[in-house]
Symmetry: C2
Subunit: 204 residues, 2 copies
């Protein structure tokens, strides 16, 4: 039992160290020895858990996705509409990118030209945004003529753009970015009749 717990902690430390390294230096320059050193773990232990850098990157992408999925589940219970959930999750994602190396690395790996095979997190986020807009449309929350797939492309581009541009004071400006984006976009997106949703809901 103690052994299992220790193995789980080692694995977690490796995923975090890998995420930090990938996000800082890009996939190509990240070396397994540097990652195991950062995690305080032996090279043998790293290879026991992850046979390759690619496997480690895939696990970072999966962990990023699970992290955002958990946030979505929590927010869903208090969201007043599908559009409200989309806005809340986008804001939370931009904050997570600033404060959580795993989510940040998920974004980074999705668009890293030196990692050809992995786009799991980016693809998942794009699909989620598109499906969420379809749910909003189904509930009559979108203005007439709004095409969910095209609007999804704009939302996904903006979230990726805010991430890659980055900033020193990420955690301070991330929510401002999200609010600025929604205050520009929402009035065109939301059904006119649905007055309350035309203002960006306050952060909770």
């Amino acid at each position: 039992m103690v052994k299992q717990l220790r193995a789980a902690r080692t694995r977690e430390a490796l995923v975090l160290a890998a995420a930090e390294t990938f996000a800082d230096d890009g996939y190509a320059l990240s070396s397994l020895p540097a990652i195991s050193r950062r995690a305080g773990v032996s090279a043998g232990a790293l290879h026991f858990h992850f046979p390759s850098k690619d496997a480690l990157a895939a696990e970072v992408e999966s962990a990023a996705r699970r992290s955002v999925e958990e946030r979505v589940a929590v927010r869903r219970s208090s969201a007043t509409s599908e559009l409200h959930l989309l806005i809340t999750v986008t804001r939370e994602l931009l904050v997570a990118v600033a404060t959580d190396a795993v989510v940040r690395a998920g974004f980074r790996l999705s668009v890293d030209p030196s990692r050809k095979s992995g786009t799991d997190f980016g693809r998942w986020w794009r699909t989620w945004v598109c499906e969420q807009l379809l749910r909003a449309q189904h509930q009559g929350e979108l203005a007439e003529g709004v095409a969910p797939d095209r609007v999804a492309a704009v939302i996904v581009a903006a979230t990726f753009g805010f991430e890659v541009l980055g900033a020193q004071d990420r955690d301070r400006i991330a929510p401002l970015h999200a609010d600025q984006f929604w205050s520009l976009v929402l009035p065109q997106l939301a059904a006119r009749s649905d007055g309350f949703v035309c203002a960006v809901p306050p952060a909770s």
Copy 2:
């Protein structure tokens, strides 16, 4: 004279080959031998023109910037307002990213974590967008309460996001992305009195 012309052509071929390589593989994985081979130029000729990979990347970023500056100069003469110029240049930039390896590499290098020193093109684009919004504000073209620096952050993030997300059919979808973005954002951005500018101007 022939010698000078040949030197200029060699330099141009090297910049193009470097841009294609940086955009495809990222800065870290791009090697000088691969770039000189792609340009059909000897390793000695490459080193004569560019002492290092960093110098070559800096030249690609400068060339990207000059390319966009030239487009801005051409568009300025036919633009009907400062906001119109901003919209036209953004659309043109997204098309250029699809069709011009140098502009694409300019974007890529600006956000490549494996190239620590270079952000020349990205910084220039951000500054240009912000100054253009200030000019629009000065001309009374912006709605009341619009903060040029914050809106600039959204526009710059979206353009970077569209670029890094990429697509196979870039040249076909790039203008659609630009139009979708502006049709969402412009009604909030433009002064209400300035009716004609509230619709995205047709591509010229």
